[in-house]
Structures are given as structure tokens and as C-alpha cells.
Symmetry: C2
Subunit: 306 residues, 2 copies
């Protein structure tokens, strides 16, 4: 199985837009123009997913970890480039299933594959996607931009990534196992909500507390986070684990208090779950509150793939 | 050593443009606009480079295999995103040297690092760069576009990649060992030449004959290639190996006969070596000629990293 065979036989089927040139050139045309952004995230076997995970869910996770970054900026996905380091001992039937799921999921989020590179390796499965996006507003919404007094919001549920991984490792079919394998994104409605209302925004991919600390640092503000308000995936189990581990792929954002009503109305129209989990403060401190009282922060706020 | 440490300590130093946002967000601003193109190429330890290759030359090779694609389209590099799969057992001092060489070489070709992703793995060193470019002309020059009767040109010397690899494997310090490790690109002068004159163009990275076959196929033409005209790196050694193996990173292009004089004049001004190695024909056949007589084509025209 050589590089050209891989590309021509499987990837061409899902690269049908004009910019892709049928994957028949060394470079692709980039059509995204104004307010363009780009992100790249990789997934490696044994680090970001388990060797035994179904190949289709790995493909969808690769797409979604990148789409999540684009949506969090109040933007919609545009064009994608794939780098595929395929282990020599993985079956070609798996490759076919991978490409089909990748094409499906890119299509689901409105992204087009325009190019990439493939290599057959002796190492673990190594996947990387570069994804462009176009901001829905005049500008993308960055991590910096939060102001003291604003509300802190989060979409969906927090902790589903951690709870799901526990279920997968224990080989029980719990409610969040599927989310761990193929994150359920809040979707383009969340991108529209961010574009319309958010002052600062990022996706929650490495643990809510750690990501909140990053947003606060980038904005030069503090945050009070209300533990009781947190929309936990499984409220009756390890709370600190759920708010410090990764793979949630929800969106954490700040917005002026004056937007609160309009924001909730728009979320309702979009069928989007959003929860106000705290407020932006003038200090630089990240504080976790329970019934108004400070709770000691865990030593490790977030999760890094080491 | 975790992901955030890697990024913040080493990569921020070389990501100083506005679009990079100091690598402090999940996405980067893409500033390239008109006639924009994008490419992504990966390098994997044991496949594209040897484990014992100096880390600085690996970084430069990563940059150059991508810059080569951009130059071949008559374009100049713009913005870069790095995916770095760093083996857990590689020293951090190597990482510092890698980032320094990467920054140096991106700067040399006018490219700016704006983002990326890093992961620490148990697999081989896995590197991928996504590079945007901006066409110098109205449009990039694609593989398709050659017309019967045109000249076929190549920059520099062909076979240096293969000769260099032989030297490196034999541990002799031949003239091309350094080219294998850090390809000497023809440079931006070649991009200007392509933009001004070429009808079709691509870089020679997988063996001249195989790449010529791809250009011919994309253009729907045939090619007569004159073996005597070929600017071989080492004319007295295995000729067929030199024209069928990879890592040359020269530019193969076609241009109207009427451009011949102006093309040579511009190449002279740029200090650029170009050689007319054949002509475009109306058939679909790739023919290798020696003193006007057909030479049987080798079974394998190019080299794929399997």
C-alpha cells in the first residue's frame, strides 16, 4: 500500500470541492477570505484514543476536536487538510472505514477536505487535521476579551468526557461512553450564540477549571465559578474529576449581563443548553465557590496529554 | 514535559507575528488573502529521515519540503502551523535545537509560525507542517496546464537526494550528503521564474520520472525527456536511480518556446540554474530519449514512502 494508492483510492472520494483539485496537485486552493482563522489538532493512538476504539469514532473525534475550536471562536468550519500516519499493521478495510467516517463527519459540520499527506509508519496511528474557519461576526471571538462584571457561561454538560472514559475503561455501557469516543458537540448554534454575544470564548477540551484559568489569564481578569450551578454530566459522582479532565468539547464563554435575556432567548431558539456558571471579576484570581463559600482548588486544574 | 510547557517555553519564541496571538489561543488568524494556497507535508522518523540525523537538519527539511511545494506553484510562503509528535525518550535539549532551527529556516523563506499542536508519544518522531502561500501571479501554477510543443525545464541538479542518501548510509562525506539532510532549494527566484513563465509546474520530490508522469497526466499531454540533457548530480553513477528516487526538491515546469530567451535571461539574473530537458508532446506518452532514441522506462518511475 503506497502513498499514492492511499490518496487516490480512498481520499479522492471525499474531496470533491473545487479547491481540492481532486487531490491531484501538491497544494490546494484556499478559498476562505475575510475573518479567516485556522487551527490544527492531532490525535495519537494510546494518547488521545484507545487502540481498540472503533476506527469510525476515531475519525469523527479527529474532525470534532478541530470543529470545536472553530465553533468556540464564533466561526464555522471551511476547509480541511488531513495528515494520516497509518500503521503498517492496520487493515486496509479499517482505512476505508476511516475515510468514510471522516468524509461523513466533515460534511456534517460543513467542512471540505482539500488536501493532506499520508505516510505508512511503524508507529502508532497518528492523525492530524488542519481546519480553517470563517467568523460569523466581524471578528473571531478570542480567549482575551472578558471584562469584570460579565457572566460566565458554558454550553451542554461538563464531565461527560471523564465519565465516558471511565465507562469505556470499565467496559460498561454507561450514558457517556459514546461521548468519549465521538464527542457530541453543541454545534453551529453555539457558534452563532458566541458570535452574537460573547466577549471571550474557548472550547473546554482539557478540563473546565484549567481552561477557565487560561481564559482568565488571556483576558487579564479573575473568575468566580459556582460549583452548584455547574451542569455536571453525572452530578452524583466525583465532581472534581469531572471539572478537571478533558474531552468535554463544550464552549466556555463570557458575555455582558445586559445580553443575558437575549442570549437565553437565542439559545432557546437554537435548542441549545447553556448555563451561567459564574462571573468575571476584577482580580486575577480563579475562585471556585460552593453556596457562596470558597472551595480549595484542586492541585491540577486541567489535563494535558503527556 | 507537558503540552503547554512545550508550547510556551520553546515555540512562543519563534511565533511573533500578529496572527499567531503568541500561540495563546486555540486558533490563529489567517492573513493570506488573494490567490492563496495551502500545503501540508509530514516527515516521520525512519521513513523520511534517519533516527540519527541531526535534529536541526530534520527541522530544516520539514520546512523545505513544504516551501518547495509553494515555490513550485509560483508562490511565496506565508503562514505555518506545526504538529509535533515528540518521542518521550528524546532529550529536551534536542527540542530546543529543533525549535531554533525551525524558526531560523521559516524566517529564511519568509514564513511565520502561527499555531500548531504538540503531543508526547511512544512512537517515532512525527512532524507535520501546514504552510500557506500567496501566488506571485494572478493564479498559482498547477500541474495541469502544459501544452504540446512547449519546453520542459528543471531547476538545479537531479539525483542529489539519492546520491546523498547513499553517502549518508555509507557514512562517507560525499558532495550530496548535506543535500539529503537539508535540501538546498532553488529558492524564491525559482518561484518568480515559474510565476513569470510556466504553464505547468511541480516540485521534484518523489523522483523526476514519476513526477514528470504526474505532470503529464494532470495536463493530458505526453513528454519527451532527453537523458543527455539531464543535469545529474553525479553524471558518472547510476543514472536511472538518480532520476527515479526522491528528495531532490527541484522544480519541474513547462513553458512556451517563445518564452525561452526571456526565461533564460531571468534565470541568469536570479543566479538560477535551469536546464531544458525535453518537450511537451501531443500524445499521452512519457518517453525517455538518449541521442534521440527511445530508452526503456524503468518499472518504477518514482519513489513512494511506504
Amino acid at each position: 500500500m503506497d502513498e499514492f494508492d492511499l490518496i487516490s483510492r480512498h481520499l479522492r472520494k471525499i474531496a470533491s470541492t473545487e479547491g481540492a483539485l481532486g487531490l491531484g496537485d501538491d497544494v490546494a486552493r484556499l478559498t476562505v477570505r475575510e475573518a479567516a482563522i485556522v487551527t490544527t489538532d492531532c490525535l495519537v493512538e494510546g494518547v488521545h484514543f484507545l487502540p481498540q476504539d472503533p476506527i469510525g469514532t476515531i475519525a469523527r473525534k479527529l474532525v470534532r476536536v478541530n470543529v470545536s475550536d472553530i465553533h468556540a471562536k464564533g466561526a464555522l468550519p471551511g476547509e480541511a487538510l488531513l495528515v494520516l500516519g497509518w500503521p503498517k499493521d492496520r487493515a486496509e478495510s479499517e482505512l476505508v472505514a476511516f475515510v468514510e467516517a471522516l468524509g461523513d463527519d466533515l460534511g456534517l459540520w460543513g467542512a471540505n477536505l482539500i488536501g493532506g499527506d499520508t505516510v505508512s509508519t511503524h508507529g502508532p496511528l497518528f492523525l492530524s487535521l488542519t481546519l480553517t474557519g470563517k467568523a460569523l461576526g466581524v471578528s473571531p471571538v478570542w480567549r482575551a476579551g472578558a471584562h469584570a462584571g460579565e457572566d460566565l457561561w458554558v454550553t451542554g454538560r461538563i464531565g461527560a468526557g471523564w465519565c465516558g472514559l471511565r465507562e469505556v475503561l470499565a467496559e460498561v455501557s454507561g450514558p457517556d461512553a459514546e461521548h468519549y469516543r465521538t464527542p457530541a458537540l453543541p454545534g453551529p448554534g453555539a457558534a452563532r450564540l458566541v458570535a452574537a454575544h460573547a466577549s471571550a470564548s474557548m472550547d473546554v477540551s482539557d478540563g473546565l477549571l484549567g481552561d477557565a484559568a487560561k481564559l482568565a489569564e488571556a483576558s487579564g481578569v479573575g473568575l468566580n465559578i459556582d460549583l452548584e450551578a455547574m451542569p455536571l454530566a453525572q452530578p452524583d459522582t466525583a465532581v472534581m474529576d469531572q471539572i478537571t479532565h478533558g474531552d468535554d468539547y463544550q464552549i466556555l464563554f463570557t458575555a455582558p449581563v445586559s445580553n443575558r435575556e437575549a442570549l437565553l432567548a437565542q439559545a432557546g431558539q437554537e435548542g441549545l443548553k447553556v448555563t451561567r456558571i459564574g462571573e468575571v471579576t476584577a482580580g486575577r484570581e480563579l475562585r471556585l465557590l460552593s453556596n457562596g463559600n470558597p472551595v480549595p482548588l484542586p492541585q491540577k486544574l486541567g489535563f494535558a496529554h503527556e
